[in-house]
C-alpha cells in the first residue's frame, strides 16, 4: 500500500437485479484528507459507501485499509466499525433519550468491580473526550437537549473515540444552519490534523470548496475521476457530475421551445415557502408552458414543487391558480384545482404496491370524484385499457399487481393516474429516473404533446439534456432557494450549468 493512503478501493463492481450499480470504481483516501464524494442521483455514491461499510456485498474488486494486510471484507457495519470505518448519517444514529456520556460509551461502558456500569467514570471519560474536541457539552444531559449539529458532533466523537481511521459523513449538513455547519467544519479540520481520513458526501457545492482537499466524482455507477480541489473549479465539477465535458458542449436545440409568456397565467406564486426546505420564491407558469426546475440534488427543486402542490403545506406567501387566489392545505385541494404531482420517490409516494394496475390508474380520478361516486367497473376497465395502450405499459394484465412491474412501467402507470384526471397543470418530479432509454424518450415526447394540448407542465430532472429538449423556460435553484430563471437564448447546456454552479469560480 502506498504511503499515507488510509483507504483504497479498487475496481469495485456491484449489480442490483437488472441494473449495474457500480462498475469498476476506484476510491482512494489519504490520511488527514477530507475528500468529497460527489454525484447526482443514481450515481452510486451511497452504493459505494454501503459496499465499504458492509451493507452491500460487491461482486468484484478489493478494499485495502491501512494497517491491515490484504483485502478486507466487512460482514456488516459493526464489523466495519471494528476495523476502523465509521459512518455518521444525516439522521443521527444515537439514542435521544440517553445521556451524552451513555451515547458515547454504550456497548463499551466502563464497569465497576461488581459488574455494574461505572457511571461516574463514564461521565469523566466523556467529559474529557468532549474537552479534547473543544465541545462545550454537559455529558450528563440527555442527547435530545442538544441541537442536531451538536448531536452529529457527538456521533462523530463516538466514532473517533472508537479508533476510526476512516470517517464517512453522509450528508451531515443537510439540516444544519450556517453557524452549525461552521462548527462541524471546525471539528472536521481538527480531525484532519489528527490524521483521520474523512469521506464527505454532500450536495452543497460551497461546502465542498470550503472544507475539502479532494473530490471524487461518480456518474451512472462509474468513476468520472479523482481530483484535487485545485484542479476542479466549480463549473467543471458540475459538468463532471452532469456528464458533459465543459470544453466541448454540444448545443442541443430545444424541440419544444417557444415563448409562452403571452399566454394566460396558470400558476402565480408569490413568496411561497416551507420552513427548512425551501426559502420564499416567486414563480409564474403560463398555459401550455413546460417549465423546468433545475439545480443539483437537494437544491430545493422537489421541495418547491411540493410547496405548490400542498404536499408540504406552504407556510408563507400567496398562490393564484388561474388568477384566483387559493389556499392549498392538502393535495386534494390542489387536485381539485386541476393539478397533479408525480413524486420523485416512486416507491414511497407513488405506487400502491399491493393494488392492481387498474386500481392504481383510477386512484386519483376516484379521489377527485369522492367516495360515493365509484367509477363503474366497466369504466375502470375502459380507462385502464386506454392508458395501458396509450402509454404502452407492459403488464401481464390490467389486474397484475403494480409492484410486479418494472420501474419504467410503474412510472407510466402513475403518469396514467394523473393523465386520467385530465389536469391543467402537471408536476413531474424526476419522471425518467431509473428507467430505460426508450421509455425516457416516450415520456419526453408525452410532455411536449401535453404542452401542445394547452396543459402546463413542471418538469424536474437531473439530466439537463432532456430538460433542454422539453422546457420553454427553466427556474434555477441552489441551496434551498430559487436563484434565477433562464429562457430563450440562454437555454443551453453551458448557460444552465453556469447558473447551477453559481459564484465566480
Amino acid at each position: 500500500m502506498e504511503n499515507n493512503v488510509v483507504l483504497s478501493m479498487k475496481g469495485i463492481c456491484m449489480t442490483f437485479p437488472g441494473v449495474k450499480a457500480l462498475e469498476n470504481v476506484d476510491f482512494n483516501l489519504k490520511k488527514g484528507e477530507i475528500r468529497a464524494l460527489m454525484g447526482e442521483n443514481g450515481a452510486g455514491k451511497s452504493t459505494l459507501i454501503k459496499c465499504l461499510t458492509g451493507v452491500n456485498k460487491f461482486e468484484a474488486g478489493e478494499i485495502y485499509l491501512d494497517g491491515i494486510d490484504g483485502p478486507i471484507v466487512n460482514k456488516d457495519t459493526m464489523d466495519a466499525q471494528r476495523k476502523g470505518i465509521s459512518t455518521v448519517y444525516q439522521e443521527v444514529n444515537l439514542c435521544p433519550n440517553l445521556s451524552v456520556a451513555e451515547n458515547l460509551f454504550i456497548g463499551r461502558e466502563p464497569m465497576t468491580k461488581i459488574g455494574t456500569v461505572n457511571r461516574k467514570k463514564m461521565n469523566e471519560m466523556a467529559a474529557k473526550l468532549m474537552k479534547d474536541l473543544d465541545l462545550d457539552i454537559d455529558v450528563t444531559q440527555n442527547l435530545e437537549e442538544y441541537s442536531l449539529a451538536l448531536q452529529q458532533m457527538i456521533a462523530i466523537a463516538r466514532a473517533v473515540d472508537m479508533d476510526c481511521k476512516v470517517l464517512i459523513l453522509d450528508e451531515p449538513t443537510s439540516s444544519l444552519d450556517d453557524n452549525e455547519v461552521a462548527k462541524l467544519f471546525g471539528m472536521m479540520r481538527r480531525l484532519r490534523e489528527q490524521g483521520v481520513g474523512i469521506v464527505f458526501v454532500t450536495h452543497f457545492l460551497e461546502q465542498v470548496y470550503e472544507v475539502c482537499d479532494g473530490i471524487t466524482v461518480l456518474r451512472n455507477g462509474t468513476l468520472v475521476g479523482e481530483y484535487s480541489i485545485e484542479e476542479l473549479p466549480r463549473v467543471k465539477l458540475v459538468a463532471a457530475m452532469m456528464g458533459k465535458d465543459f470544453d466541448d458542449l454540444a448545443n442541443i436545440k430545444p424541440e419544444g421551445s417557444g415563448d409562452k409568456s403571452k399566454e394566460p397565467l396558470v400558476i402565480d406564486a408569490k413568496g411561497l415557502s416551507h420552513a427548512g426546505t425551501i426559502k420564499p420564491f416567486d414563480l409564474e407558469i403560463h398555459k401550455g408552458e413546460v417549465i423546468g426546475l433545475t439545480g443539483l440534488l437537494g437544491s430545493g427543486r422537489t421541495e418547491l414543487a411540493r410547496a405548490i402542490y400542498g404536499a408540504d403545506r406552504a407556510q408563507t406567501g400567496t398562490l393564484k391558480v388561474k388568477e384566483q387566489e387559493v389556499t392549498i392545505k392538502n393535495p386534494i385541494d390542489a387536485m381539485n384545482l386541476g393539478m397533479g404531482l408525480l413524486p420523485d420517490d416512486r416507491k414511497a409516494e407513488g405506487i400502491i404496491g399491493d393494488l392492481s394496475v387498474r386500481e392504481n390508474i383510477i386512484l386519483a380520478m376516484q379521489a377527485k370524484l369522492g367516495i360515493f361516486k365509484k367509477i363503474p367497473m366497466a369504466k375502470q376497465i375502459e380507462i385502464a385499457d386506454k392508458f395501458i395502450e396509450l402509454l404502452q405499459i407492459k403488464t401481464a394484465s390490467r389486474e397484475t399487481l403494480i409492484k410486479q412491474l418494472s420501474g419504467g412501467n410503474q412510472q407510466k402507470v402513475i403518469l396514467a393516474r394523473w393523465l386520467a384526471t385530465d389536469p391543467d397543470f402537471l408536476i413531474l418530479d424526476e419522471p425518467t429516473r431509473g428507467i430505460d432509454i426508450g421509455t425516457k424518450t416516450e415520456i419526453q415526447k408525452l410532455v411536449i404533446q401535453l404542452a401542445e394540448e394547452g396543459k402546463s407542465v413542471m418538469f424536474i430532472s437531473s439530466e439537463i439534456e432532456e430538460m433542454l429538449r422539453t422546457c420553454n423556460r427553466m427556474a434555477v435553484l441552489r441551496d434551498g432557494a430559487k436563484v434565477g430563471e433562464i429562457s430563450g437564448e440562454e437555454l443551453s447546456q453551458e448557460g444552465v450549468m453556469k447558473a447551477i454552479a453559481g459564484g465566480a469560480k
Partner: protein, 355 residues
C-alpha cells in the same frame, strides 16, 4: 404439485381450508362417539324451528360475523386491531336495556321507552366509542391497540354503571324476537346476513374499499393521490363501533338481558381471529371481507366443536390463543423468509440433480 400451489395461493384458501378441517374433526368425532357420521350437517325442523349443529354454528356465529366486518376494515386501514369491541358490545347492550327498563329497574315486562329508541341509543353509543377510538388513532397518532385499550377497560365499566351493576332483564317478546326465531330461522342469522349484504353492497357501490386499502398499503402515496387518510381511518373505526353495537344488541336480545359482565367477553379475540383466519394480514393493506366472514363462522364452529368435546367456555380461549399464534407466526416475516430460503434451496438441489 403446481396444482396444489395454485390452490393454496387462492384468496379464500385459508378460511375454506380451516372450515373444512373443523368439519372433518366433527365427522371423525361423531364416528368415534357412535353418532351418525354426518350428524354435524343434519338439519331438521323441530317444533317449527330449524334445528341442527350447523344451524347452531350459524346462529351463534352471528355476533362474530358482524364484528368481523368492522374489524376487517380497521385492520386493513390502520394495521392495528380494535380490542375494545367486546366491551363496546356490552356497553351498547347495557345502555339499550337500561333505557328500555328504566334506570335501576332490573326486570320489566313492558318498555319504558319505545324499542327503537333503546336500540338506536345502543348503536349510537357504540358509534361514539368508535369515533373516540378513531380520533385517538387517526388524529393523535396513538397506536391502535393502546388507543382502544382505554375503552376495552372503560366500556364494560360504564355499561355496569348504567345497569347499576345488575343484570337487567327485558322480558318483552318483541325484544326477545331479535335473539330468537323469525319463522323457522333464528333471527340473529338474518341480522348477520343483512349486515354482511349491506357491507358488501357499500363496498361494491362506493369506492370505500379502494380508499381503505390504498391508505392501508401506502399512506404517503394515498395522500399525494388525494386521499385524506385520517378521515378514512376514523371512518373505519366508526364502522367498527357500529358493528360492535349491532352485535352487542344481538347478544343482548339473545338472553333478553344486559349481563354486562359477560356480554362480548373475549369477543375481541374471536373477531381478530376471524380476520386472521380469513387470510387477511394483521399488518394491514389488502382485505377480503368474504374471507373474514367465513373465518368468523369457522371460529364459531371451532367453539361449538370444543364445547362438544367437553371443553368449557372458560377453557376455550386456550385453543383459540394457540390458533392465533400459529397464524401470526406463519404470517411473520422471518418465518416467511425462512420458508422461501428453504424452497429456494430445494429448487437449487433439484436443478443440481437434473444437471
Amino acid at each position: 404439485m403446481d396444482k396444489v400451489k395454485k390452490i393454496t395461493k387462492m384468496k379464500l384458501f385459508l378460511p375454506i381450508f380451516s372450515m373444512i378441517l373443523v368439519m372433518m374433526i366433527n365427522v371423525i368425532y361423531d364416528i368415534a362417539s357412535g353418532n351418525a357420521p354426518f350428524s354435524f350437517f343434519t338439519i331438521s325442523i323441530n317444533n317449527g324451528i330449524l334445528y341442527g349443529r350447523l344451524i347452531d354454528v350459524l346462529n351463534r356465529g352471528s355476533e362474530v360475523a358482524i364484528l368481523a366486518i368492522g374489524m376487517t376494515l380497521v385492520v386493513s386501514a390502520s394495521a392495528g386491531t380494535d380490542i375494545s369491541v367486546g366491551s363496546v358490545m356490552s356497553l351498547s347492550g347495557g345502555l339499550c336495556c337500561m333505557l328500555l327498563a328504566g334506570y335501576g329497574v332490573t326486570n320489566v315486562s313492558e318498555y319504558n321507552v319505545p324499542l327503537w329508541v333503546g336500540m338506536l341509543a345502543g348503536v349510537a353509543i357504540a358509534c361514539v366509542c368508535g369515533l373516540f377510538n378513531g380520533f385517538l388513532v387517526a388524529y393523535m397518532n396513538i397506536q391502535p391497540m393502546v388507543a382502544t385499550l382505554i375503552l376495552w377497560s372503560a366500556g364494560r365499566a360504564i355499561g355496569l354503571l348504567l345497569c347499576n351493576s345488575n343484570i337487567v332483564y327485558v322480558r318483552v317478546p318483541s325484544f326477545q324476537f331479535f335473539g330468537a326465531y323469525c319463522g323457522i330461522i333464528p333471527t340473529p342469522i338474518i341480522i348477520a346476513a343483512v349486515c354482511v349484504v349491506i357491507a358488501s353492497i357499500i363496498l361494491r357501490v362506493t369506492a370505500l374499499g379502494t380508499y381503505i386499502q390504498s391508505v392501508g398499503i401506502n399512506k404517503k402515496a394515498s395522500r399525494i393521490s388525494g386521499f385524506n387518510s385520517a378521515k378514512i381511518i376514523l371512518l373505519c373505526y366508526v364502522i367498527c363501533g357500529l358493528c360492535a353495537g349491532i352485535s352487542g344488541l344481538v347478544a343482548t336480545c339473545r338472553i333478553y338481558s344486559a349481563d354486562t359482565n359477560n356480554i362480548g367477553l373475549n369477543m375481541e379475540l374471536d373477531a381478530i381471529l376471524a380476520v386472521a383466519l380469513g387470510g387477511n394480514s394483521l399488518g394491514g393493506g389488502k382485505f377480503n371481507l368474504a374471507g373474514s366472514i367465513i373465518g368468523a363462522y369457522t371460529i364459531q364452529a371451532i367453539t361449538t366443536t370444543l364445547y362438544a368435546l367437553g371443553v368449557s367456555s372458560a377453557q376455550a380461549p386456550v385453543f383459540k390463543a394457540i390458533v392465533v399464534i400459529l397464524i401470526v407466526v406463519i404470517q411473520s416475516e422471518p418465518v416467511k423468509a425462512y420458508f422461501k430460503k428453504l424452497s429456494a434451496k430445494k429448487a437449487a438441489a433439484k436443478e443440481a440433480v437434473q444437471a
